[in-house]
């Protein structure tokens, strides 16, 4: 079976590379070949029903309802545990004897570098251009609610992780869906298995879509943008860019050249900080415009003139981009967070609260404010601009910024791809078992999609990416509902220890 798969992929790869050299219009060809399939998948996942004249996809309602229920069920854990989460990240409760293991800070930083990225730069631009400034309001709200979803899934991710005999850890929704639900009885065990398999299938899809094609596509768009737009030498050469990036990713995931990934993981946080500082600088330089920007955000959230779908349309755009950016409820973060060293799973849940907060509430809001106060956004702006809109907004304040942004975008895209290749591989091996052939097949497919992603147009890529990432939320959140009492028990026991001072504080502040 796996040999067959290797054979097919190699064939596909060969065909692709032949036509690359035979034909200059290859971008267009790839786009046409893949679009019908991606459209079909997208249509299925985003099955929608009309609300006040707007087609609202069921999956989005699913995400919002879960985040709201979790927020109430855990009694506003997103606000309540905010301070304690910070103490944990700072290492106040770190056991000195566990020095050398993965700390809360490291788990959070790693998870963040997988989520902070193009969603915050390109995604916000898409939300604002389609939904107007008011989309920002709903994005922030979705960020706050999403914190509770992250809390739930990351607590479960640590609680039900597997430790292999050689000491490596493996965690994520696949494991809590199977192990967690199995604790509830034989029928739940069957359900858990089905959900875990579904999740793994979608996770593989998500790793090809949002974790790969979207990143390749948008980083290429920005590269074309700074090198002269339409007139750029790079325009129409998406496949070439794709091949270069695929080669670099391949060096890391197939060639085992971990150095590249390690260097990226150290630069990305600094790029993120640079981005935030530049954004804050623009906001401060235009401080007088901030009140009116917030005015536009709040007014736009409830009265949506000229936006298709009115208020519901605005809300939809905001929630959608927030969910895509911070991935709360999707389950991907539960994989990254589960590597932390702790014997109290709920502590990582507290730490995970910071992920949507930093990603959506802070970084996305900065992007949105910059787009709005620089006047880059206007009702007639091209909604397919994506990252270019953000780039133009920053450029209007600092003419050199697009170059910095390009470097940042390339690095963000690269690190997100590396992270997602790992999530996807974990899901893939969960489905097909762990051996050389299954590993290799997945990695070759992953590289193939890098090329496809950079050749396709944004619209089709964004739809397919959204579809796959959101699909993961169905099995993941359904399982989370059943496992809520488990999280609550962990939370109550821990919170009692925390409040009564029974926890050992190793650092005083």
């Amino acid at each position: 079976m796996s040999k067959l798969r290797v054979g097919i992929t190699t064939l596909v790869g060969l065909l692709a590379s032949f036509s690359v050299f035979a034909d200059i219009g290859i971008d267009e060809k790839i786009n046409l070949a893949v679009k019908p399939y991606s459209d079909a998948v997208t249509g299925f996942i985003f099955s929608s029903f009309p609300v006040a004249g707007v087609q609202i996809p069921f999956v989005l309602v699913w995400l919002i309802i879960a985040a709201t229920i979790f927020t109430f069920y855990f009694n506003f854990i997103n606000l309540r545990a905010f301070k304690h989460g910070f103490q944990l990240v700072r290492g106040d409760y770190h056991d000195p004897k566990a020095a050398g293991e993965v700390t809360h800070f490291q788990a959070l930083a790693t998870a963040l570098s997988g989520t902070v990225g193009l969603g915050n730069i390109a995604g916000v631009a898409v939300a604002v251009s389609l939904g107007g400034p008011g989309a920002t309001f709903w994005m922030i709200l979705a960020g706050f609610l999403g914190m509770s979803s992250k809390f739930t899934e990351c607590t479960l991710g640590v609680k039900y992780r597997n430790t292999l005999p050689d000491g490596t850890v493996s965690g994520g929704p696949m494991y809590y869906l199977t192990k967690g639900l199995a604790e509830k009885g034989p029928n739940f065990a069957k359900l858990g298995k089905v959900l875990a398999v579904l999740f793994a299938v979608f996770c593989v899809g998500g790793s090809f879509g949002g974790g790969n094609m979207f990143q390749a596509n948008q980083s290429f768009a920005q590269l074309v943008n700074v090198t002269g737009g339409e007139a750029s030498l790079m325009a129409d050469k998406g496949w070439l860019y794709g091949l270069v990036i695929a080669a670099l990713v391949g060096l890391v995931i197939i060639g085992g050249i971990k150095g590249i990934a390690r260097v990226t993981s150290k630069i990305v946080p600094f790029m993120a900080v640079t981005y935030v500082i530049a954004g804050l600088a623009i906001i401060l330089l235009n401080a007088s415009l901030v009140p009116s920007a917030f005015g536009a955000i709040i007014a736009g959230a409830f009265t949506a003139e000229g936006i298709s779908g009115g208020v519901i349309g605005v809300l939809f755009q905001g929630f959608k981009r927030a969910a895509f950016s911070n991935e709360a409820g999707v389950g991907s973060a539960a994989i990254a967070h589960s590597a932390v060293q702790t014997n109290r799973p709920v502590t990582e849940g507290f730490v995970a609260l910071y992920e949507p907060f930093i990603d959506t509430v802070v970084v996305c809001t900065i992007t949105a404010l910059v787009i709005i106060i620089t006047g880059t956004w206007n009702p007639s702006v091209d909604p397919s601009a994506g990252v270019q809109l953000t780039s133009t907004a920053f450029e209007s304040a600092f003419s050199w910024f697009p170059y910095v942004l390009t470097v940042a975008v390339l690095l963000f895209a690269f690190s997100t791809m590396i992270s997602w290749s790992y999530y996807g591989l974990k899901a893939w091996t969960f489905l097909f078992g762990e051996n050389r052939y299954t590993d290799g097949t997945y990695k070759i497919l992953f590289l193939f999609f890098v090329v496809v992603g950079s050749s396709m147009q944004l619209g089709a890529v964004i739809d397919f990416s959204d579809a796959m990432i959101f699909a993961m939320a169905f099995p993941n959140l359904l399982g989370c509902y059943f496992l809520l009492p488990v999280v609550k028990k962990e939370l109550n026991e821990y919170w009692a220890d925390y409040k009564s001072g029974r926890l050992v504080k190793t650092r005083n502040s």
């Binding site: 290492g91 770190h94 000195p96 004897k97 020095a99 050398g100 293991e101 993965v102 700390t103 800070f105 490291q106 788990a107 930083a109 790693t110 570098s113 997988g114 430790t163 050689d166 000491g167 490596t168 850890v169 493996s170 971990k258 990934a261 390690r262 990226t264 993981s265 150290k266 990305v268 946080p269 994989i335 990254a336 590597a339 932390v340 060293q341 590396i418 992270s419 790992y422 999530y423």
Partner: protein
């Protein structure tokens, strides 16, 4: 007060003088002697997803290697001689961690070899010795 000694070591060869000095004192005073080695590590470093999942395994390997390459070659001969010696290895910031280990084990005197860093290097990176002198909760002896 019974004295408890601790000697901080970098590698088995380069800390010879400090170990010699500490062993001499331990022989004379029949004091307990800890041989401590710190693996440079920060809780605030950035890592990849894959590194995180393999971290526990790596850490075990690092500890094992520290014992086999650094601690055992120093501790075993002293033990054979009949001294009350124990090796300790931990991850962390070198000076701060040596002090933590000293406090945990009731050490009264930390012994350290001087590394002979240049002025510039000491300015930029600081030196373990001078940092330890600043933070230590017990006496520190620096062996030239």
């Amino acid at each position: 007060m019974t004295s408890v000694l601790m000697v901080g070591v970098d590698c088995s060869d380069c800390s010879e003088r400090a170990v010699e000095y500490a062993a001499e004192h331990a022989r004379e005073s029949k004091a307990r002697l800890y041989v401590a080695h710190v693996i440079e590590w920060s809780p605030f470093s950035f890592s990849t997803v894959e590194e995180n999942f393999e971290r526990h395994k790596r850490r075990e390997e690092e500890l094992k290697r520290a014992y086999s390459d650094v601690i055992d070659p120093i501790v075993n001969p002293l033990k054979a001689e009949g001294l009350n010696v124990e090796g300790l290895v931990r991850h962390g910031h070198v000076a701060d961690t040596i002090n933590t280990l000293a406090v945990e084990n009731g050490v009264t005197n930390i012994i350290l070899g001087r590394q002979g860093t240049t002025k510039l290097k000491a300015h930029v990176f600081g030196s373990v010795g001078s940092r330890l002198v600043q933070v230590a909760d017990c006496a520190v002896t620096v062996v030239p």
